[in-house]
């Protein structure tokens, strides 16, 4: 909601279609067909499940707005989560472990930034490479085993609640609001629009494009670190395959949310809706006990339909 008030550049009405329509339709269908769907418990359930993906989709939106991409974010999440678990087992200090996870995320973020900004390697390729690296490191550190036996205190980060609201939702909400403020109310955000829209404008304005790119990808890495904390807490363990393919889910969510891959035309609220739409779809299909194979096909259909609707709109 606050998005349209805060961002005159994005009149909400012109954006509503695509994702919003899909989301409403999905909710209507599942609500009608499955009594379990509308129960508060289930809604809380959907939102909680969406939190990790949201933490990845937020920075992905920002990165895609700069005409970039981060394919490594899922693998980085995995590796951070492993480092977190290993550290906590070694030192027993949750804080230290969490910091370690953030550090790993930051390092990969900076690595991506360095390759993109300093060596001018296209983001897709850069992050495809770092994806492999993070993946490999995860396997090497764990030898394919899941890391277990971490203290319960970490698990509470996922299962705990604040004034009755599940902690993950609170964290995700904070992350969303923070990103929103960052994108629509700060210099950083303004320059993100410029990175995708017209880099020359930044240069003329005397702002370092490289510096900005570095910040953007670092942001992605750090958010992956946070997501790693939730993921580890959720699994109460770390596993070298836990985050595989999440980068594509995140990208799909962003695209479904109506952010375009060109000219810095992005919409953060759309990303939020996109993430929830994916969550609703999976949850609803499970409640309806739809065969897994059909579920797989539905996810693909969702992505295409949402973008198709946006496409129709953009034609006029």
């Amino acid at each position: 909601m606050s998005a349209q008030a805060a961002s005159p550049t994005l009149p909400l009405l012109s954006r509503v279609p695509g994702v919003a329509i899909v989301l409403v339709v999905l909710c209507a269908i599942f609500g009608a067909l499955s009594p379990g769907f509308t129960t508060p418990a289930n809604i809380a359930n959907i939102l909680t499940q969406s939190t990790i993906l949201l933490l990845l989709a937020l920075p992905m939106t920002v990165i895609i707005m700069t005409e970039g991409l981060d394919l490594s974010i899922g693998a980085v999440l995995t590796f951070s989560s492993i480092v977190l678990a290993v550290t906590v087992l070694a030192t027993g200090s949750v804080t230290l472990a969490f910091l370690a996870a953030l550090a790993v995320g930051l390092c990969f973020g900076l690595a991506n930034a360095a390759l993109v900004a300093l060596l001018d390697i296209p983001p897709f390729i850069t992050t495809l490479g770092t994806l492999g690296i993070a993946q490999g490191l995860s396997l090497l550190v764990t030898d394919g085993q899941s890391v277990v036996g971490i203290p319960r205190s970490i698990e509470h980060i996922y299962s705990g609640t604040v004034v009755g609201i599940p902690l993950p939702i609170v964290i995700a909400a904070i992350a969303y609001l923070a990103t929103h403020a960052l994108l629509y109310h700060t210099r950083f955000g303004t320059y993100v629009f410029a990175l995708g829209g017209n880099r020359e404008a930044l240069r003329v304005a005397g702002i370092s494009v490289r510096g900005m790119l570095i910040r953007v990808y670092a942001f992605g890495g750090v958010m992956a670190g946070f997501a790693a904390l939730l993921m580890t807490a959720r699994l109460n363990s770390a596993h070298p395959t836990a985050g595989i393919g999440m980068e594509f889910d995140a990208i799909a969510a962003v695209a479904v949310g109506g952010t375009s891959f060109e000219r810095g035309n992005g919409w953060l609220l759309g990303t939020l809706l996109g993430v929830i739409a994916l969550g609703v779809l999976r949850d609803g299909l499970n409640l309806l006990a739809v065969p897994s194979s059909t579920q797989v096909a539905c996810i693909g259909a969702l992505v295409i339909v949402a973008l198709f609707i946006d496409g129709l709109r953009s034609e006029r």
Partner: protein
């Protein structure tokens, strides 16, 4: 006081690998004057300005701000001296609003560090926009603005940096006369405020209409520093080109118009034109004028099959034509689009590749592509149009504007097109190249081709065309036979009474 220039560059030299872009150029700017900077493309105008605004660093040379020696090492420094540039290709961010664009890089800090004080931003933006008499909501996203409006935003942006020195690089290139008048009015207002304006232009009319002083560059050297009153256009052009050129290009005798090449009946389309009627005969050049946004380009694109039409009929050489580009090209229609970089050429591909692109089917009906034959054809075109390139293998993006335009025309010649639509064929092309293009047009019609030419420069239309249609808000406001073809008439028909 007055003889101490506001800002001065002395003995500026700049080399790029292989090229001496600037050689010991001196240049001074005085408060409240419009200083015309002229010269053919590649004369070093842009380089000089980039150095002035800190985008490039000079190899040698000094700067003086109000007589005091200073250095300009980056854009920030230049801004401190109140130097602002409005570049040809705008520096606006499409999905930010006007206010955000105006203050890009100079946002007003809010209470929280890093945050922006929005209220102040919009207040200031409104103030600046009012200052230049541009009445628009600063919350408008820039991507929804027209070219002219975007340029106003550019100017507002520059002035908001309370610029004392404003550099304009071909500001009217994208403007209709109507809009140009507004721009000139504003320049007058700025002068009054004591702002110095450096104005780069290829349009002699402007140079003499606006300029208080003219500096001529050629091949990176300063050739002359003149006063308009004491100069004639021919002198000026001779200085620019280094050889005498007739700018008042006189139209040679044209053949008697032949069969009807193009016939458009009650054409209407969603892109904003309705009930358009045109005829173009073989052997004549017909102008299509009117303000930017009056639907000229849209009609042209529709005729070419690039845009949809809702009703009406298009006949090419008598036969109706299916609205598709392929059909049009196969039937010998050609479009030379207004923006050659984004619409005309595959810049990374070689000159040869671009030249044969249209005629692939014709040249290789079997579908098998034979590089040798392609190169041969390309060379023929290159010679015919005197395109300055050592080899057809050279990426077309590395050629000068004029030569790029020739390549665009060349690919249609190679496809032996019979009906040509030229959309702003001389935009951003220097005087020398311009008259070459005109001769080319002549050559075409003499060989029995027909030409429909869109131009924002009435003078061109008057000089080159046999007839002209004038459009106003999507409709043909009138047709001007050759004897009625005057700038005055064009303007009269073109603007709303």
């Amino acid at each position: 006081m007055a003889d101490v220039p506001l800002f001065e560059l002395r003995g500026i030299s700049k080399e790029f690998p292989g090229v001496k872009a600037l050689d010991d150029v001196s240049f001074e700017i005085r408060a409240g004057e419009v200083h015309m900077l002229v010269g053919e493309n590649g004369a070093g105008k842009s380089t000089l300005m980039k150095i002035l605004c800190g985008a490039y660093r000079a190899d040698r040379g000094e700067f003086f701000n109000a007589g005091k020696p200073v250095t300009i090492h980056d854009a920030g420094a230049a801004r401190q001296f109140g130097i602002a540039v409005i570049f040809q290709d705008f520096t606006l961010v499409p999905y930010l609003d006007i206010a955000q664009n105006i203050f890009l890089g100079r946002e007003f800090a809010g209470r929280v560090p890093g945050f922006i004080d929005r209220r102040r931003t919009y207040a200031e933006a409104t103030r600046v926009l009012d200052g230049i008499g541009f009445d628009i909501d600063p919350r408008e996203p820039v991507h929804s603005l027209g070219v002219a409006q975007q340029q106003m935003v550019e100017i507002a942006k520059a002035l908001s940096q309370d610029a004392r020195i404003l550099v304009m690089d071909e500001p009217t290139a994208a403007l209709s006369d109507h809009e140009t008048e507004k721009l000139f009015a504003m320049i007058a207002r700025l002068k009054a405020k004591g702002v110095a304006i450096i104005y780069i232009s290829h349009r002699l009319s402007e140079v003499f209409a606006l300029g208080d002083r003219i500096t001529v560059l050629r091949d990176g050297r300063k050739i002359a520093d003149l006063l308009p009153k004491a100069t004639t256009p021919d002198q000026l052009v001779t200085l620019m080109v280094g050889r005498p050129v007739d700018t008042t290009y006189t139209r040679p005798e044209r053949p008697v118009p032949g069969e009807v090449a193009l016939e458009v009946k009650n054409l209407s389309g969603p892109s904003g034109f309705s009930d358009v009627n045109l005829t173009v005969r073989a052997g004549e050049i017909v102008g299509l004028c009117g303000l930017v946004g009056s639907g000229r380009t849209e009609v042209a694109r529709a005729i070419f099959g690039a845009d949809r039409v809702t009703s009406g009929e298009i006949r090419l050489f008598g036969a109706p034509i299916a609205e598709s580009i392929e059909a049009a090209t196969r039937r010998g229609m050609a479009l030379i689009p207004e923006n050659r970089k984004t619409q005309g050429l595959a810049l990374a591909r070689s000159v040869g590749d671009n030249i044969v692109l249209v005629s692939l089917r014709k040249m290789f009906p079997s579908g098998i592509f034979v590089p040798r034959r392609a190169l041969k054809a390309a060379r023929a075109v290159i010679d015919k149009l005197r395109i300055a390139t050592p080899t057809p293998r050279r990426p077309v993006g590395t050629l000068s504007g004029g030569n790029q335009q020739k390549v665009v025309i060349g690919k249609w010649l190679n496809a032996d097109a019979k009906f040509f639509i030229f959309d702003e064929p001389t935009r951003g092309i220097d005087v020398g190249a311009k008259s070459e293009i005109f001769r080319l047009l002549d050559g075409l019609v003499h060989n029995g081709a027909a030409v429909l030419m869109i131009s924002s420069e009435q003078i061109e239309i008057v000089h080159i065309c046999d007839r002209a249609y004038v459009m106003r808000s999507g409709r043909v406001a009138g047709e001007l036979a050759h004897h009625e073809l005057t700038e005055a008439n064009i303007v009269r028909l073109g603007i709303h009474q």
